[in-house]
């Protein structure tokens, strides 16, 4: 083969690779909608989204409590993990010496690498009994899921906020210090405002992670199909609903369609969060 032909062949092959990569996204969208859309039709879009019954034997599916459950755990966890995560990021960029960074950095990396199932396990064995005995039974509850998600979203928020704080030009900080500002004044008045949109982006991406987390939430939330009255009530999210039933639902049944429709709603939320996050962090 001549050099020219090799060149053309290679180019075609590589292009094919990227086409296949692209097809995966298209494929996911297609199969999700093909299976999930029927649920909107079978139940009626309004009844499906605002319905409060999930009855497999009668084939009636409404996901209102699931949407609320997902939104509750997401907001609940982010309210706590955002300020904590941002604080740690500030600590890492502006306070920690390089020795301390060498210890804490790998810790946070490890935290990001812990399988979600392990968070679920520790939550289930440690946290759930703790809540049951000290606060209110059954322990499997909204608050348990929120606490687990606080820990799980932390690495995302820390790492991305840190990136954005680090990308603030050094000149800004120098200008502030040279005018007699303390470290904290510089962080508060210069670094944080300059990194604001990146940090908001990090937090919103954290929300995307939280709403999409399935296994750990499933293991601690109790999976009661109802709108929780308090933080100590068991509840169910879009994701934990899928985890609980994906194995038993028959292919092409209305039940399976309803699970896929949960996936569609979940995906809409995730894309919404990630889209905003990309915009804020200027990724796209």
């Amino acid at each position: 083969m001549s050099k020219k032909n090799i060149e053309i062949t290679v180019r075609c092959l590589l292009f094919l690779c990227s086409i296949i990569s692209l097809m995966i996204l298209v494929g996911i969208g297609y199969f999700l909608f093909k299976n999930g859309f029927s649920a909107f039709i079978e139940n009626g879009l309004g009844n499906f989204i605002f319905g409060k019954t999930w009855n497999i034997s009668k084939n009636v599916y409404g996901v209102y409590p699931l949407i609320l459950g997902s939104l509750f755990v997401t907001t609940g966890s982010i309210i706590v993990s955002a300020p904590i995560g941002i604080s740690v990021a500030i600590f890492m960029t502006d306070i920690a010496t390089s020795d301390i960074k060498k210890i804490i950095g790998p810790c946070i990396e490890l935290m990001a690498g812990i399988p979600s199932i392990v968070f679920g396990l520790v939550g289930m064995i440690f946290l759930v009994p703790l809540i049951r005995e000290n606060f209110s039974p059954p322990g499997y509850s909204l608050i348990a899921a929120i606490i687990v998600l606080i820990v799980m979203t932390m690495p995302t928020i820390i790492t991305l906020s840190e990136d954005s704080l680090r990308s603030v030009p050094r000149q800004y900080k120098e200008a502030s210090y040279a005018l007699g500002a303390t470290k904290w004044q510089t962080v508060w008045n210069v670094t944080l405002p300059a990194a604001k949109s990146g940090i908001i982006g990090a937090v919103i991406l954290g929300m995307g992670r939280a709403i999409g987390e399935a296994m750990a939430v499933y293991m601690v939330i109790g999976n009661a199909f109802k709108i929780p009255n308090s933080l100590f009530d068991p509840s169910r999210t879009l994701t934990s609903n899928i985890v609980g039933q994906i194995e038993e639902a028959a292919l092409n049944s209305q039940h399976m369609h309803a699970l896929f429709a949960c996936g569609i709603i979940l995906l809409i939320f995730v894309f919404l969060f990630n889209g905003i996050s990309f915009k804020m962090r200027k990724v796209v």
């Binding site: 692209l22 995966i24 996204l25 199969f31 600590f91 199932i117 392990v118 932390m154 399935a214 896929f260």
Partner: protein, 285 residues
């Protein structure tokens, strides 16, 4: 107004406290797991046949799944990365592909589980390692592409120019100069993806099957360590003489094994990163 110097002290103490809290919560998870699980870690449990209550099938299943997944995404991911970094023209299609990959990376893993059921399991006809590996390949592809792309972009432009100036074609330059230089970064991507296979559970729930036998063919069912952990933690004990507490201890034991794997992977990524920045790149940049 509080004196700035005092505010500085307060904020500093506060940030220290919060950081230590976060780090200790993580250490707590590890220590708690180790304390509750180490008793289960004996030769019989870790390397024993799964029929008799050992972990042989999940360990083999995990390895099998990692290999099969990498077999799919290595050529596909690296190929896509090379196309995007070296060949792709600056147009809407390229932009869209990059955007699609970023979107893929954000999709929750449970969605991949649904997709795997609806497509791969239906296509093959039953749950098996192949279906699980294809599902995991979709999930980890964006990570593979991103790491490889970053590594390729990091190769100094001057090296490419030097190769072109000597009369090399684009592919010769890519194959002989760019890819070797980017290899450490690509390896990082490979480890990252293997890590995903080890850690993920949701996409495998309904795709990989749950056979207690050691897997042989890719069309066999299998279980992974993470899946095994999930079932140990959530199922009621089925055989006599085993209590729920035993199962929990075993689940914690599996968690320890997962920790060890993750730590080893993180360490090798760091090691590659160090070697990489020390040797080659000092000259290049």
């Amino acid at each position: 107004m509080i004196k700035p110097q005092i505010a500085q002290k307060i904020s500093s103490v506060l940030l220290w406290t919060i950081t230590l809290l976060v780090v200790s919560s993580m250490l707590f998870i590890i220590v708690y797991t180790v304390l509750h699980g180490w008793r289960s870690l004996n030769m019989h449990f870790v390397f024993g046949s799964t029929i008799t209550g050992g972990l042989m099938a999940p360990i083999l299943g995990t390895l099998y799944l990692i290999l099969l997944t990498l077999l799919f995404i290595f050529p596909l991911g690296v190929g896509t990365a090379i196309y995007l970094s070296e060949y792709a023209p600056e147009n809407k299609f390229t932009k869209f592909t990059k955007f699609a990959l970023k979107s893929l990376a954000g999709i929750p893993s449970i969605i991949y589980g649904l997709f795997g059921v609806a497509f791969f399991v239906v296509f093959i006809g039953h749950t098996c390692i192949l279906a699980g590996a294809l599902t995991m390949a979709c999930l980890s592809l964006p990570y593979m592409v991103t790491s490889a792309e970053e590594a390729l972009i990091g190769v100094p432009k001057t090296w490419r120019e030097a190769s072109y100036a000597l009369g090399a074609t684009k592919w010769e330059t890519t194959w002989k100069i760019v890819i070797p230089a980017a290899l450490p970064g690509i390896m990082t991507g490979v480890i990252l993806c293997a890590g995903r296979v080890v850690a993920e559970t949701a996409p495998l729930l309904a795709t990989v099957g749950f056979s207690p036998f050691n897997p042989v063919s890719p069309l066999d069912g299998a279980r992974t360590l993470a899946l095994e952990l999930f079932y140990l933690a959530t199922e009621a004990p089925s055989t006599g003489g085993i209590t729920r507490q035993d199962l929990i201890t075993q689940a914690m034991g599996v968690a320890i094994i997962l920790f060890i794997i993750i730590i080893l992977m993180n360490m090798s990524v760091r090691w590659i990163g160090k070697k990489y920045s020390n040797e080659q790149y000092k000259i290049g940049r």
